[in-house]
């Protein structure tokens, strides 16, 4: 196998992330807004750091694995906790705890504790988070005002959100085509998860080492049905054709979507809106308040020979100045309470950014298993199929059974 490894490494060399001279290399993924913010952080750090930029998660994972195989990984990489398990299990990541313990700049107390927990293995911190986002509801103030519908409040419920979405779904010119949809939400497991928790069910059977989805119960079925009803029963979200024609973010930007369930990542794009005012409201619960963690963390490659220099960049990026730059760019919910409470985060749009912080009290992470990317893709395909079922006849119970049976083998492999 060494021969294969050597051959493959040779072939992958071109794709590998090789450091230029003594620069610390940092692999990041993001949209143009996000990448621009990372560049600002690097520039402000004044440290010899070179960013390796890719556009999405899949590219980042591919680049990371091939560069590790080629023996030349980036010193640091920024990866969502949902996709870190495989790299952690194989020793590709050098735990951050020892560096944090020795740091004169950073301490555990600088971070929101509930976010740090998503990055702890056996009591030690593996990677250090840079953001603490969750899902919220973005809403178009003009559409609400024009329809005479009251804007969302902090204590609204799922049913109230659906009721308002029904009132806001409008065919304005009477041509039989909906011009404004009341709500936009991606049919994905990360969108359904908080609803399942809110209804009183668990998403998976064992939090620490899941072997299956745990959705075969009344509460979970009720939550999944409420989600499917958004399209099939109430018709408040765009159809699959409409969603394929224009993605939800663009639809909101163009004023054709009254509400959008999303994480913090859309804020930089939404700040380009001049035509109408917008704000955020909490994700409404179906039962108890619940939300799902969206967080990326800096991980240190075991094979890096510049670990100390790389950690110096982490100290800057997660320090008050680095977090301030990212917060002002709008992209992140700071993981530091001091920056989160500052004007850098609360001062810009959206006006109600404190909603993100309020959610942290009941925000939970998704499972961390090696096969999670595959489990999520398989689950998302099933959810999408049921959500956009043209017959409108998809039952939550059927979807739940399909989710459990068709991902069982993946859980077994990835636990």
């Amino acid at each position: 196998m060494r021969l294969v490894a050597a051959g493959l490494s040779l072939l992958l060399l071109g794709a590998a992330c090789s450091g230029a001279g003594g620069d610390v290399t940092v692999l990041v993924a993001g949209d143009p807004f996000e990448l621009a913010a990372y560049r600002d952080v690097v520039e402000a750090s004044g440290l010899p750091v070179r960013l390796i930029e890719v556009t999405d998660r899949d590219q980042l994972i591919a680049r990371l694995s091939t560069s590790i195989a080629a023996g030349d990984p980036p010193d640091l990489f920024l990866l969502n906790y949902r996709y870190q398990a495989r790299f952690l299990a194989t020793g590709a990541v050098a735990p951050m705890q020892q560096f944090l313990d020795r740091s004169a700049v950073l301490a555990e107390g600088d971070f929101f504790p509930q976010v740090l927990e998503a990055f702890r293995e056996g009591g030690a911190l593996t990677c250090l988070p840079q953001n603490a986002a969750s899902l919220v509801v973005y809403y178009n103030e003009e559409i609400f005002a024009a329809a005479g519908v009251p804007i969302p409040t902090g204590d609204w419920t799922w049913d109230e959100m659906v009721g308002r979405a029904q009132l806001l779904t409008q065919d304005r010119d009477g041509d039989g085509i909906v011009d404004v949809h009341g709500l936009g939400v991606e049919p994905e497991v990360i969108r359904i998860a908080p609803l399942v928790w809110s209804a009183g069910s668990e998403l998976v059977d064992r939090e620490d080492a899941p072997t299956s989805f745990a959705l075969a119960n009344e509460e979970a079925v009720r939550a999944v049905q409420a989600f499917l009803d958004l399209r099939a029963r109430f018709g408040v979200v765009p159809t699959d054709e409409e969603a394929a024609s224009q993605d939800l973010e663009s639809r909101f930007l163009s004023g054709h979507l009254a509400m959008l369930i999303e994480s913090r990542k859309v804020v930089p794009a939404l700040r380009t809106i001049d035509a109408f005012g917008w704000d955020v409201a909490p994700l409404p619960p179906i039962g108890e308040p619940a939300n799902v963690l969206h967080s990326d963390a800096y991980c240190l490659a075991s094979a890096s020979d510049r670990k100390q220099a790389a950690f110096r960049f982490v100290e800057f990026a997660l320090g008050p100045e680095g977090q301030r730059i990212l917060a002002e760019a709008g992209r992140i919910v700071p993981v530091r309470p001091d920056v989160a409470a500052s004007e850098a985060f609360l001062g810009g749009e959206p006006a109600s950014s404190e909603v993100f912080l309020d959610q942290l009290a009941w925000t939970r992470p998704l499972p961390r298993v090696a096969a999670w990317p595959e489990i999520e893709d398989a689950a998302n395909a099933l959810i999408e199929e049921a959500f956009y079922d043209p017959t409108g006849g998809s039952e939550a119970a059927e979807l739940v059974l399909a989710l459990m049976s068709q991902t069982q083998a993946l859980f077994a492999r990835g636990a």
Binding site: M1, A62, D240, A381
Partner: protein, 294 residues
């Protein structure tokens, strides 16, 4: 070794070197890797034929293989007909033939990713020019990206216009058919169809066989960019997940390089089988034709 043979070897050496380094070497590595479970990050684990056994029970792999075979069965004949028809149409000396030939070749020169993104716009179910044109003509407007059948046909459509290479080969073959053979056949009372079937087609057959073999092999890979960028392998359940996308997802998204290598080995074997079948079929057809003429 005589000087001529030595010169031939010398000329072939860079190409052979490239084939060994970029084709034979990776193919061999793929074969070896298919016997391992490997994520590139941890130690590889020998699993023998387990990856192939798992493929047998994998619904997504079965769907991908079926989709790929369907694509080859539909796309290759259509592209051959297109290339042949255009070659017959444009081989004559007519006005603006250069422009027409360039128009046929041009799509094949556009990078796959750029071509796919252009089609993402063309096939937009609500605002795309294709459906707007169909609507203006009072024709049905398929949901190209969201209805499984239409999505599969949209991938065929995207590849169909990239027939430039096949067209050039067919055009060269048509121009190589001696004019006096047609004149002789015409003098013997053969009509246009008979001249095409008895003279043009048999003489073009070796070149067309090359086009078909090349397209059959290329078709397995040609689905990758449109499936990844236009349809995303969907709509669910895996309507446009073809073998290359299956391999890509397992290798680069799920880090199952051994499993993806096993799927690639299957893809190579299936491609080779199709090409072998085609060569045999055409050989028999040509043999039968020669017998008839005798």
């Amino acid at each position: 070794m005589d000087p001529e043979r030595r010169a031939l070897w010398l000329l072939a050496t860079p190409f052979l070197f490239g084939v060994v380094l970029l084709v034979a070497g990776p193919a061999l590595l793929t074969l070896v890797m298919s016997a391992f479970e490997w994520d590139l990050v941890s130690e590889a684990r020998f699993v023998g034929a387990a990856n192939f056994r798992e493929l047998l029970g994998d619904d997504v792999f079965r769907i991908s293989l079926r989709n790929s075979l369907w694509y080859v069965a539909v796309s290759v004949p259509l592209k051959l007909l297109g290339a042949l028809g255009l070659a017959l149409l444009l081989h004559r000396r007519t006005r603006a033939r250069g422009l027409a030939r360039a128009s046929v070749v041009l799509p094949a020169a556009i990078p796959d990713a750029a071509w796919a993104l252009v089609w993402l716009w063309i096939l937009n179910p609500l605002t795309g020019p294709l459906n707007l044109a169909l609507q203006a003509l009072g024709l049905p407007t398929p949901a190209w990206l969201t209805q499984p059948g239409a999505a599969r046909w949209s991938v065929v459509l995207i590849g169909l216009l990239q027939l430039g290479e096949g067209f050039l080969i067919a055009l060269a073959a048509r121009q190589g058919v001696p004019g006096h053979l047609h004149e002789t056949a015409e003098a013997a009372g053969a009509g246009p169809w008979a001249r095409f079937v008895r003279v043009t087609l048999p003489l073009m057959a070796p070149a067309l066989l090359l086009v078909v073999c090349r397209d059959a092999v290329a078709s397995f890979q040609a689905t990758f960019a449109p499936a990844l960028l236009v349809t995303g392998g969907g709509p669910p359940p895996h309507a446009t997940t073809f073998l290359p996308l299956f391999v890509y997802q397992n290798a680069f998204e799920y880090l199952r390089y051994g499993y993806a290598a096993a799927a690639t080995v299957v893809m190579i074997v299936v491609s080779a089988s199709i090409v072998w079948l085609m060569i045999r079929t055409v050989d028999r057809w040509r043999g039968g034709l020669v017998e008839q003429i005798r």
